[in-house]
Symmetry: C2
Subunit: 397 residues, 2 copies
Amino acid sequence: MTPPVPQGFSVAGVHCGIKSDADKEDLALIITDRPAVGVGVYTQNLVVAAPVELDRERTPSDSIRAVVINSGCANACTGEEGLQNARQTANWVSQQCNIHEEQTLVLSTGIIGEQLPMANIEQGIRSAAEQLSDDEPSLIRAARGMMTTDTIHKICGREVNIAQKTTRITGLAKGAAMIGPNMATMLAVVITDAVLTVDDAQASLVEAIAESFNCISVDGHMSTNDTVLLLANGAAGTPPLAGKALNEFRATLVEVCEDLAQSIPADGEGATHLITVEVHGCRSRDDALQIGKTIADSPLVKTAVAGADPNWGRIVSAAGYAGVPFNPEHVSLHLNGILLYEHGTPVQFDPAAVSHSISSNRDTHIVMIFQEGSAAARFWTTDLTSEYVRLNAEYHT
Amino acid sequence: MTPPVPQGFSVAGVHCGIKSDADKEDLALIITDRPAVGVGVYTQNLVVAAPVELDRERTPSDSIRAVVINSGCANACTGEEGLQNARQTANWVSQQCNIHEEQTLVLSTGIIGEQLPMANIEQGIRSAAEQLSDDEPSLIRAARGMMTTDTIHKICGREVNIAQKTTRITGLAKGAAMIGPNMATMLAVVITDAVLTVDDAQASLVEAIAESFNCISVDGHMSTNDTVLLLANGAAGTPPLAGKALNEFRATLVEVCEDLAQSIPADGEGATHLITVEVHGCRSRDDALQIGKTIADSPLVKTAVAGADPNWGRIVSAAGYAGVPFNPEHVSLHLNGILLYEHGTPVQFDPAAVSHSISSNRDTHIVMIFQEGSAAARFWTTDLTSEYVRLNAEYHT
């Protein structure tokens, strides 16, 4: 079920010809009717796209009015011309929507190294501005406007009752390729009518990302464009969130981001399984996350799941090279609830039953238990299929 | 051309039934007629196979007489029984060859978590001991006895004239899967009749590995069994190598190890390209190696090469998340000698010509130039094909 658009926001998604297929939206516009707190977390890649440069300048802010997103062209590695084009994109939005250029944030995704087709962008912004709405079809079209090789649009939301008023948190994301951890693993925009300060918004977003977008990977490749934005326009009309109410908001934001984050590997390129790697009993959360990520990034683990092979040896050996010290004799491993490995040695199990449990479920659940401490973490990834290779070998030229 | 067996060594390779296919050798034996200096470098995985535990106890040594290698079963994650089986394997060699058990090193490769089929091992050692020889067919059979999913055996060698005598260095390796850097990226045994001290042998091996086996990857997955051994039996009859003679030996050992190391990604599972990533202009060799490895491990780069796509964006963005600081505006990139990217921006090039140059050559050469310093490194890997996925999804169960 599609969640509602938070109060005070309107959205649109249009096709303006950046993508060749006329059925595919390639530009999305999000507008708030009053200035919103706007914060962002951006790729840690040293090579950053022009829109990331622009948004870094403009956030954090207490007066964001618009986000414009295009797919089909990443506007990355495009030099000074690319930066000018990102500014021009924001400028057109400001003209159409009667706001200041600096109140507009820009996101781009798609092929690297090509300049934005500016005539299409201008026309797209004009028609998107005409179609702005808070209805469900508009929200879906906006989410579709962010998509590249995603097979379905990604929208997650929650409503939470704070101070006798309904506060809405709704997020849109695109994923599929180049999804690796270390922050901002794709494009996501979370909009809310909550009443937040800039500092609380930034802290809440950083916290939520640590539990969600930083815990997913498809191929471990961090992109030049990864961005997560949070816009809070305060239209819910509560007092500024603090204490228990703020905690409630933060917990709900984590949920929304977790749902959005999981939807990315679940729709990974060519994926037939969403793999959850749960790591327990570590000295620190960082240790647990590092082990989870190392298992999740192993092509041998990912191909084993694709082939429904209960190949615990690949999982255990991946943990062994994660760079985290542990006693191998105290390691246990469950796959889809079945114990495969205990106290450092394999146990008797029915390989056919485990294989059937993998092949008959889209979710694969790996639980690895250490005895080094009490910290835990979860990490999500996809399996690795021939279809992933085909898609990525054929993309572009 | 197969290099000769160094003086004083004899070798054999047999089929003893660990692999089901009777045409495939699965056990190799290497014997020296006099005690040899024996040194090893082993996997840094925390989870190590039984033979690695055994060989770590027994090296460095000045009295090694034998190495026995089986494929088809890794004897990893096999607990106390696995360690006993490794010792028993060495014991049978000592009985057959009339040497002490402690003079024998053991290597295993294959499936993790299954006990060695000891009846087959015993019979295999007996027939290998009967077939020991220094002829070319025996050397090839020994190399074949190490193979798992390798499509061809891997033997490299050099002869070098030191102190008016011929010194031979010949190496055998197996690779194909689970090849990642951080030492010992598979199994390799280098035998030489050079006259070396234990300390010089160890230092020479560590140095050679840093330039070779630590600069390759197939899938970035470090195995539980990775081992490189160097045996030097002194049969060349020169004075103990020192000074210029020792340097000459070391340089030749590096060449042999580089040749062997490259042959592994060249024969990577499902590989259609050997990719060389050359990184120049870094502050340190470690920086250059880290960037090279990050590019080489990116599934997006590897699939682009498989698809003959001059997708420089994937290469540049992979460098950007290597964790090494650099100025993106001073980066240049050549692919197969064609300039694609200069001073941080893409240049005009003919994509069809670059694509044709990738698809019509088995070697792909990526050269990335920074302006941070004068250190450089080379890293070798394979492309990522649907065939890799098929092989790894179908292995085992």
